[in-house]
Every structure is written in C-alpha cells, then in structure tokens.
C-alpha cells in the first residue's frame, strides 16, 4: 500500500466517490463527487473502476509526496500541476490524460477557470468504506479521511496496483480527452419549475454566485424574489432542489445538502446541468432557464451519450505509449 503524504492540503480537498445511496431516510446525504462523470473519466484513464475513490479539489490543490511511482489523472477544471523530482527539478503535469509519475512530489496549484478538479490514482484512495461509500460526510463527520477535508500531515492510503514503468520524469500520452473543456464564467442552468408562484420569475433574475457557496449548496446574490413569509412543514429535498429562503435569494442544494428542508421550493436543476454548478465560482453570473421534464430527460440522455463516446475514446487510446512530459 502506498501512502500519500499531505505536505499542503489545498483549499478544500476531500475523498469522494459516487456517494452513498439509500440512506436519506436516516438523514444521510448521498454526497459524492460534485461531478461524478469527471471523477469516473479520471478513474477510467488510470484503469480504476468508475466508483473508485478520488480526491476532489476545490480552487487550489494539495501538495502530495509519495515514495513509489504512481499513475494519476486529473479531470475537471484545468489545474496548475507540477511534479517535483527528488533532485528538486520541476516538471509540468498535464490534465485530461493518464500520467505516470516517478516517486516524488505532486504539487497541485490554482484552478483559474472553473472551480473543481478530480485526481484519480491507480488503485483508488483506499480509506475504509462507511455505509457503502468512501465519500466524506462532513455533516456527520464520517467517511473519507475521518469525515473531514485533508490537513497537512495526513497520510492518504492508495490501493495496490501494478506500478507504472517510468523514467526519472513524468510520462504521458500525446492525446488528451476532456468533457466540458471550456468552463465559462457565465453559467446557465436549466431547471424544471415547481408550481410555486415565484418558480418562473427565478428565470428572469440576473444572479451571481455567492462566496458562501459550498458542497451543501450554491447560494445566489441578486435582487431578492419577494416572497410572503410561509410557515412550512419540513419536507424531503434532493440535490438540485432550488430553495427560496426568507431573504429572497435562491439556494440550489448540492450533494452534501441536508435531506429535508422547510423553505419554499421553486423547482429543481436538471441532472444534466448539476455539473455546471460544481464549476461556478464566487461572483460568476448565473442564469436559470425553465424547461420541462421531457427536456430534462433528453438532456440527461444526451450527456450520457457524450460520456459513453469519451469512455470509448479513452479505452481506444489507452494502450498508446507514454512520452516524457516537457
């Protein structure tokens, strides 16, 4: 078993996989990677099963040291990445393709466009599963690495796998494959409106992403939607649910959100667009576009087809030989 030494934790780095299904009735969120497709693509590039645990990186990545060669892949938003060899030389590490690293240090820096990236390592992050998943439940304080984000000094276990044959510098194929290669700073998300009176006015608002957003929810700033106070019984919610709190600024619930809520519900962001919220940075413009359920299904199937094409391409290209990274 290889241990990654966390020299620097990054802004918010957590162990995630596809999440834990089936426990919402006990108040346990599904959790998991905010873009499970990107995590799965990174896993495929290194030869892991789709649901192997990865590191989810937000804004600024960690610095990890390891004393054996590793095969890794970085997918999602482009992140500054460098390999530091034992002799101190730095070599760039590219994204969107498998990279063979010699023993040394992987220094992940800033994400400049978009917000999140996923680091897959051949063998998977080998923390113990809890309730069927290795994802980190921050609210419950369990799962992942002790139910919390990475800290300097942590040692993160990686599962056994055949170490890559690699020379003194990182090696990667000449190809790269990316879904959503160009995150934009203006995010448009489609939603299916509820029958609430303010469900459609939501789409007329010019919103921005509030800096207080996190894995539990994306908060919006903008001209509040005036809503008469309502006293509602708590009811189930889901990732994608759009809530309207008393201050009139919508919140879109994400993977780590509470399982029930008492705020009025304006509708839900379609599954095919949730990944856009994972890349929305504080201050980014955000618009909601109302669609119907049929359009949501069509979008979901279309995205699944895109993903299937990329998976096929990864499988096709994988046997190609690696070359040293410049």
């Amino acid at each position: 078993m290889i241990l990654l030494q966390v020299l620097a934790p990054g802004a918010s780095t957590t162990v995630q996989d596809r999440g834990r299904e089936g426990w919402r009735h006990l108040g346990v969120a599904r959790g998991g990677a905010l873009d499970p497709v990107q995590a799965a693509l990174a896993n495929r590039m290194v030869g892991n099963p789709a649901d192997a645990a990865v590191l989810e990186i937000t804004l600024r990545g960690p610095t990890l040291a390891f004393d054996a060669p590793l095969r890794i892949a970085l997918c999602g938003a482009r992140i500054d990445a460098a390999f530091i060899a034992a002799d101190g030389t730095r070599h760039p590490v590219p994204c969107d393709r498998p990279v063979a690293l010699p023993a040394g240090t992987l220094a992940l820096g800033m994400i400049r466009r978009g917000l999140r990236a996923w680091l897959a390592i051949d063998g998977g992050i080998a923390v113990a599963p809890v309730l069927g998943s290795r994802s980190t439940d921050l609210r419950g304080g369990f799962g992942g690495l002790d139910g919390r984000a990475l800290r300097a000094g942590d040692r993160v276990p990686v599962g056994d796998s055949a170490p890559p044959q690699v020379g003194p510098v990182p090696e990667a194929p000449g190809w790269w494959i990316a879904l959503d290669p160009e995150p934009s700073d203006a995010t448009r998300v489609r939603y299916v409106p509820s029958d609430h009176a303010l469900a459609l006015p939501l789409s007329r608002g010019a919103w921005r992403v509030d800096p207080r957003s996190d894995r539990q929810g994306l908060r919006c700033t903008g001209t509040p939607l005036a809503c008469p106070p309502q006293d509602l019984l708590s009811a189930p919610v889901a990732p994608g649910t759009i809530q309207l709190p008393p201050d009139g600024r919508p919140i879109v619930l994400l993977a780590d959100a509470q399982t029930v809520g008492g705020y009025p519900r304006l509708g839900h962001v379609i599954a095919a667009d949730l990944h856009r919220l994972a890349q929305a940075r504080a201050g980014d413009a955000l618009r909601f576009e109302a669609v119907d359920a049929a359009a949501a299904t069509k979008a979901r199937l279309r995205r699944s087809a895109e993903v299937a094409r990329l998976e096929w391409a990864i499988d096709l290209m994988s046997p190609e030989a690696d070359i040293p990274c410049a």
Binding site: V28, G140, D231, P236, A293
Partner: protein
C-alpha cells in the same frame, strides 16, 4: 384515502403529498405516510433507491436509467391507494425507550424552562417523559429525529441566541417539537436532559437507533447511571 399530489422533486425523485404542507402536524397524515412507505418498501420495486418519509410527504428516489417518473407513478399510486383503515393494518411498530438524565449539567435549560411554563422541574420531567412520541421523520443531520406528540402545553420558543455547541445526546424542546441531537452541533433548542445512547453510528449494521415511524418514550435515570447505562449495541 389517496395521496393528494404527486410532483417531481428531482430528475430521479418524486414527492408525494398526503396532507397540508403547513403546521400543525397531523398525526393521522403522518401515520398514513409511514404505512405507505412500509407498503412500498415491502413491494421490493427493483428501481427504488430510497424512500424518505416526512411529516406529510414521502419522497421516492428511483433509478432514472431503469424507469422514468411517469412510469413510476402508476405502481406507486396503486400501493398508496391500498391503505385500509388503521385498525386493520395496525403494525405494532417498535417502541424505543430512551434513558435520559434530566437537568443539572445534562439539561442546562430545565429549571428555566419549567419556570417559564409555570411548572416545577420535577413536573416538567414527569410530563415530558410520560408521553409516547412518534418519530415523524429523520433529517437535518444523520439520525436526527423529529418527534411528534409533544404536549402542546410544553411548547417553548427556541433560544434567542442559539448555543454554538449542544452536547451529543441532548434532549430538547424547540417550538412545538421535542427531539434529540445525535451529534454535537450548534442548536437553539431548550435542553432538558441528555441520553448516553448513541443515536447514530455509521459503522453499525443498523446505523440509526431510531427509524421513521418508531414510537419513543423517555425514561428518567439518575446522573450516576449515565456512565453505567448500556450504550446501544
């Protein structure tokens, strides 16, 4: 009796409404929700991923690759409509007894709450622990139960300034509800006591002590017994 409304909650979830969406909580509606959830669970639908009962609603999470929302509505409607009168299908359910040390360091708000209600602390303890409560739903945090059945005369507004730390296992009253904090967290409820039982342990096969629909009774125990009480195994 039928669900009054079925709407989409997400691309992979439906929300069924069984009654009014605003307070007060109707225990009969909540009982119907739990009976419906039990029938749906017993039907072992292959596409079902999760069932989340709440006060007056039931969320059904399904595998969107196995079925679409429209096709799921029919079998669900049939199961929901199959509700016979409560007497005929009275499931005994579980009654969980929760030992509680009331007052003192274990329930810092007990004396003040009693005074506010015009009761002695002992009378408040007696009335709080005399009732049989129902786990109307679980949410807010893993294992956090919303208990219905609080004597309306014991309702207390939340603290104006919530505590930043409420100890795990604390039993409190917030508005017209009573409940327990499974884990240390901030909270604004009035703290009456604390239980040594672990409400939620994700490493256990049954991670939550309580399940939606369970009955709950509080049993006062002495402070000396707090450490000696059997932790839930």
């Amino acid at each position: 009796m039928t669900a009054t409304h079925c709407e989409r909650l997400a691309d992979d979830a439906l929300l069924l409404s069984f009654g009014a969406d605003s307070p007060p909580v109707d225990p009969d509606t909540n009982a119907r929700v739990h009976r419906a959830a039990a029938r749906i669970r017993a039907a072992r639908l292959p596409w079902l991923r999760d069932l989340v009962p709440a006060y007056a609603t039931l969320a059904v999470f399904f595998d969107p690759d196995a079925i679409d929302a429209e096709a799921a509505r029919q079998p669900l409607a049939a199961l929901i409509d199959d509700d016979t009168t409560p007497d005929e299908h009275a499931t005994p359910g579980r009654c969980i007894e929760i030992p509680v040390v009331y007052g003192g360091a274990f329930g810092e708000d007990l004396d003040a709450a009693a005074a506010e209600l015009g009761l002695t602390p002992d009378a408040l303890i007696a009335r709080h622990s005399a009732a049989l409560y129902t786990v109307a739903m679980i949410g807010f945090a893993p294992g956090f139960p919303y208990l219905s059945g609080l004597d309306p005369a014991l309702a207390l507004p939340r603290l104006a300034t919530p505590r930043t730390r409420v100890p795990a296992g604390s039993v409190g009253i917030g508005g017209a509800q009573t409940g327990l904090y499974p884990r240390e967290s901030p909270g604004g409820w009035r703290l009456l006591g604390r239980t040594p039982l672990r409400l939620f342990d994700p490493t256990r096969e049954t991670p939550s002590l309580l399940a939606p629909g369970d009955r709950v009774r509080f049993r006062p125990i002495a402070a000396d017994d707090f450490a000696r009480s059997e932790t839930w195994a």
